[in-house]
Symmetry: C2
């Protein structure tokens, strides 16, 4: 798949020396080392200025920049994939751009033109393509983000913004299977709130409850509705899938739940591979009962960073429920199907793969 | 009132030249010009380092600093007051420090020692005391804030933070009376969320619904619960007071509503001045019915920035309800009582006034 975009005049200032020799590609953590360059786009005087590529460098901001005070910040998560021939691909990048602008609108941040996003991203990736890991389980994690750089202590939208793309050669997000806690006290988002947006504030609010869960031996919280804590929502950095008998179920998206690109891709792939799927509200009671009677076969998280993360057990009201170890799990089957598309190892009948460089 | 604090070794680097001659003290906006100095305190390797005062200057951060991505940012709002003798006062500053740490805990930010806050603040104010406006309605707005300066794209708490205090000689927050819209679609916070914290993300989420309200001719949104939109919560930068007949009512604080220092001070002052008060849930139906039968006498917002902001009218479901113009309103009476304490014009039997410099 490719798209026609208006030609954008992107200025490029190359790094004088490369940091690539400092990267230990055999022992990559998630998102902690960065490539040589970054893309910066400034919003000033009511317009997004043309994107600039420059050496990865520190950002200077006034102490009154509104990002520090009022949380006007949004982001996206993407990955770049390299196949055996060295060709470079993205996965449904236009969906990331669309969602970035959905988040932007809800946070009163000016929307970014598609061609700035797409041309900026592909130009940056071509320049830093040597940083794309080829080792199984590693990838180049791409972080497009936007924040209020305009100044002032008045609680109102800023008049200046920055859009930046930075990239990090990364290992896997979770190491091994994930044990989750079904949250019964804290909440991630409100009806009519910003839960559907990739807004910075949605994440900071999860850290404390997640730390409490980690102290109890879990890796991650599964969020529930803020009224009854009875409906399964999402896992913060992942959407949640639940397999009861042979049916794969995930909750509907809403103004509280992120419309995950991995989530919707998995739903489509599952349907095409004869896996019965349901998109409907899932209650905690239903999951607990299914765990008790043995009909709960699998749970997994799905997101760009974590891809598909199988869940080994869940905790609910001081009791842990183990999930069975399956030989041919939906999680492993679906993970292979989606990553084969992403890494150009299989046909892409969906048109999801986007070639950056052949 | 004064407190004993441990002596802290604060390093001071003075500005070479002062910007004070550039400040137009007769035409101050809210929070848009800053004093000569700022206080910076860094959290590194598990400890808060000693505070440093330095010339007000830009902050340098890595593009991967978590404040840009995960909204780990909190703040406080305070004011410094100068009396006719040039003495300088704060109002209940220890309560701001306490609340800062309450916010910090909920956002997984390390708590700041009281002596760093208090000594840092008073040292900074003494240095920049010439910036404290003396004109009626103006004040020095003080913004203590803390954010995640540590790096990484993993959605987890940062390992480094910055605490900064910056000050802005400011005019009033609202010009004139305020027309509010009782929100029926969007929400500010969830049960079990971070609404009680002064977290950056709580503000960004309000901007879009507030912009929609501004386009309809209102100045501010009054937030309601996220389930039924039937309970009055707060106004984002202010708590809300409602006078029905002679009783002054405000909602109880909760995990959704900020525990405002102006709010609780007003409650206490009102009680001591024979104004009947109630702290209880207020329904929108009750307010609309009171507007219809004439028992709704006043509504006002209360907060550090806005002090007491009388509300002239509220909108609810496409209908506007005007509030009467009162000769001796509770709002004006209470505003005089609280500002007289703040500006050292009356006795302070509560011990709320805190002398910075005599």
């Amino acid at each position: 798949m490719s798209v026609e975009t208006k030609k954008v005049n992107i200025s490029v200032e190359r790094a004088k020396t490369s940091k690539i020799n400092q990267v230990d590609f055999d022992n990559l953590k998630f998102g902690s080392v960065y490539t040589d360059h970054m893309l910066v786009c400034d919003y000033k005087n009511g317009v997004w200025e043309a994107p600039k590529i420059m050496p990865y460098q520190q950002i200077m901001l006034d102490p009154s920049a509104k990002v520090f005070h009022y949380g006007q910040s949004i982001f996206e998560g993407m990955k770049a994939y390299k196949d055996d021939n060295g060709s470079i691909f993205l996965f449904r990048p236009l969906d990331n751009h669309k969602r970035l602008n959905i988040s932007a609108k809800r946070l009163s941040i000016p929307e970014l033109p598609e061609e700035y996003f797409m041309e900026g991203l592909t130009t940056l990736l071509e320049l830093d393509s040597d940083f794309i890991p080829t080792k199984e389980g590693s990838s180049l994690y791409i972080r497009p983000f936007m924040f209020a750089s305009g100044n002032g202590f008045h609680a109102s939208p800023a008049d200046e913004y920055k859009f930046i793309i930075a990239c990090a050669p990364s290992g896997s997000y979770f190491s091994g299977k994930v044990k989750v806690l079904i949250e019964q006290t804290y909440s991630r988002s409100a009806n009519g709130g910003v839960g559907f947006a990739k807004a910075g504030g949605n994440y900071a609010g999860q850290f404390y409850p997640t730390q409490l869960a980690i102290e109890k031996g879990y890796n991650q919280v599964i969020w529930t509705d803020d009224t009854e804590h009875e409906y399964i929502e999402e896992a913060g950095a992942m959407n949640i899938f639940i397999r009861i008998n042979d049916t794969l179920i995930t909750g509907p998206t809403s103004d509280r739940i992120l419309d995950g690109i991995t989530r919707k891709s998995i739903l489509e792939i599952a349907k095409d591979n004869s896996i019965p799927t349901e998109v409907r509200k899932i209650t905690v009671t239903e999951v607990v009962n299914a765990a008790k009677d043995g009909s709960l076969k699998e749970m997994f998280g799905a997101g760009t960073a974590a891809v598909i993360s199988p869940i080994s057990a869940f905790g609910y009201k001081d009791k842990d429920y183990d999930l069975p170890e399956l030989e041919n799990s939906y999680a492993s089957k679906l993970k292979k199907l989606i990553t084969d598309i992403q890494y150009n190892k299989s046909e892409d009948k969906y048109g999801w793969r986007f070639m950056v460089k052949s």
